[in-house]
Symmetry: C2
Subunit: 245 residues, 2 copies
DNA sequence: AGACGTTTAATTGTCTGACAAATGAAAATT
DNA sequence: AATTTTCATTTGTCAGACAATTAAACGTCT
């Protein structure tokens, strides 16, 4: 394992890259133990703090885990879907908030992706997923629910819909798109009327998935997408009116 | 900014989390300068190396950037889509390889997502995207092309198709799904016959997008999806036959 | 006064050496 | 044989130091 001398960067960055490349290429298999920090320091001809900074970079990406003690050390970590979810959601959320992505753009992406899952979900949905969707709908009809709790339940409903496709890769990709929308959704103040409309569409979608009717599921999702866009436009229109007044 | 005393973890991990939460919550806006390492060490009552390890964790996620010199320091980084692409691709690739995700599962996810983009691409495609797609098709018909180069061009074609939707959120999400498939695609040895078939479908897709015909684009994408699945099945069947012989 | 070097202070990057804490293995003891 | 103790290894943390970089402050010359 050699460090790249052409790009003059931080040593810890170069070392992290060298180890990361070794992991990606498969040269370092899962659960393989890396040399100890002292050995790595020798190999790369740097000090231990520099090696440690490199290892912390890798740990931040869940590429390695460390263990103290006699038989401890740094081990190549098996990246699990659940671990990747969190990072995916964090990154997606920051991307939306830091790049002034409009509600319309994020919403369009989310529903386009979700509609891609619907046919698979209709085919493969298990009783478990259907039960989750029904439970969330039941939660949403409760009158005392805050807007935040309503949005959270909305996310849970859509997560169940996506998970019903039974494809972990799809679930992973969608996690970012769906969850990152939540802060944007929270901007909307849901009236009793709009909640009723959304819950109704949720019911329609759940019915279609239960009946394994992909076409109906898609149609109701499309309706939900356009209704959500309309709600957001109303909020923006009201805000602009107040601003210009 | 306080560290969480309930979960006994590494100090650098706790500090990284505290700063990360501050960034996500918006308490630290983009381009805001963090206190110097010495000041952070004082604030958190730890040593400078510990603070540095925390900062390196954040740097690994592109949440901060550092600059040396008198007016230097660590600054909250604006997370750009281009920066996130790379991380997304790395993570997706490792997820597939480390979790023994089958070709069928990954392929299903990829084409499901890609078909979600197609209607938008058909509506919004620019001359630029169409030109890129045609150029990649032109590259693919060249006879001397290696399988790796063919796959790379395939990825470029599909990237252009996705980018044509004009939605950066979609492009970001799809980057992982499309690019992470490439190592799996490289397992396939493309015969002249199969290349011809794929290039033909690429042409059909490009024609449909050019004609803004979403239905046809979807149909040809579906055909490409099933043909790709079939190719992979043939490879697996041959490998199993050789293995049992 | 203005342009141009020079100094200086601040900050990150790196190194050295040390000690604490955890942990499993080996050795000693019962 | 089971249990306890000791010990070696490794990561986690600290303190202090110096090098490298950078921009601002300062001084000098025209």
């Amino acid at each position: 394992m050699k460090i790249d001398p052409t790009t003059p960067a931080d040593l810890s960055q170069q070392i992290a890259k060298a180890i990361r490349d070794a992991i990606i290429s498969g040269a370092l298999p899962v659960d393989e133990r890396l040399p100890s920090e002292a050995e790595l320091a020798d190999q790369f001809s740097v000090s231990r703090p520099t090696v440690r900074e490199a290892l912390k970079r890798l740990a931040a990406q869940s590429l390695i885990r460390t263990q103290r003690g006699a038989t401890g050390g740094a081990f190549v970590n098996r990246l699990r879907f659940e671990d990747a979810y969190g990072q995916q959601i964090t990154t997606s959320t920051l991307l939306l908030s830091m790049n002034d992505v409009s509600f319309a753009t994020a919403c369009e992406a989310r529903y386009a992706l979700e509609r891609a899952c619907a046919p698979l979900s209709a085919t493969r949905r298990s009783a478990d997923h259907l039960a989750t969707m029904r439970a969330e709908i039941h939660r949403q009809v409760q009158p005392g629910l805050t807007d935040e709790a309503f949005c959270a339940s909305d996310v849970a409903f859509h997560r169940a819909l996506v998970d019903a496709a039974g494809n972990p890769v799809l679930s992973y990709q969608l996690a970012g798109a769906v969850e990152a929308m939540q802060p944007l959704m929270n901007m909307i103040t849901f009236t009793a009327r709009s909640r009723e409309m959304i819950i109704g569409l949720h019911g329609d979608i759940a019915d279609a998935i239960t009946a394994q009717d992909a076409g109906k599921a898609d149609a109701h999702l499309a309706a939900l997408a356009s209704y959500t866009q309309q709600l957001a436009q109303d909020v923006i229109a009201k805000r602009d009116a107040r601003h210009n007044a």
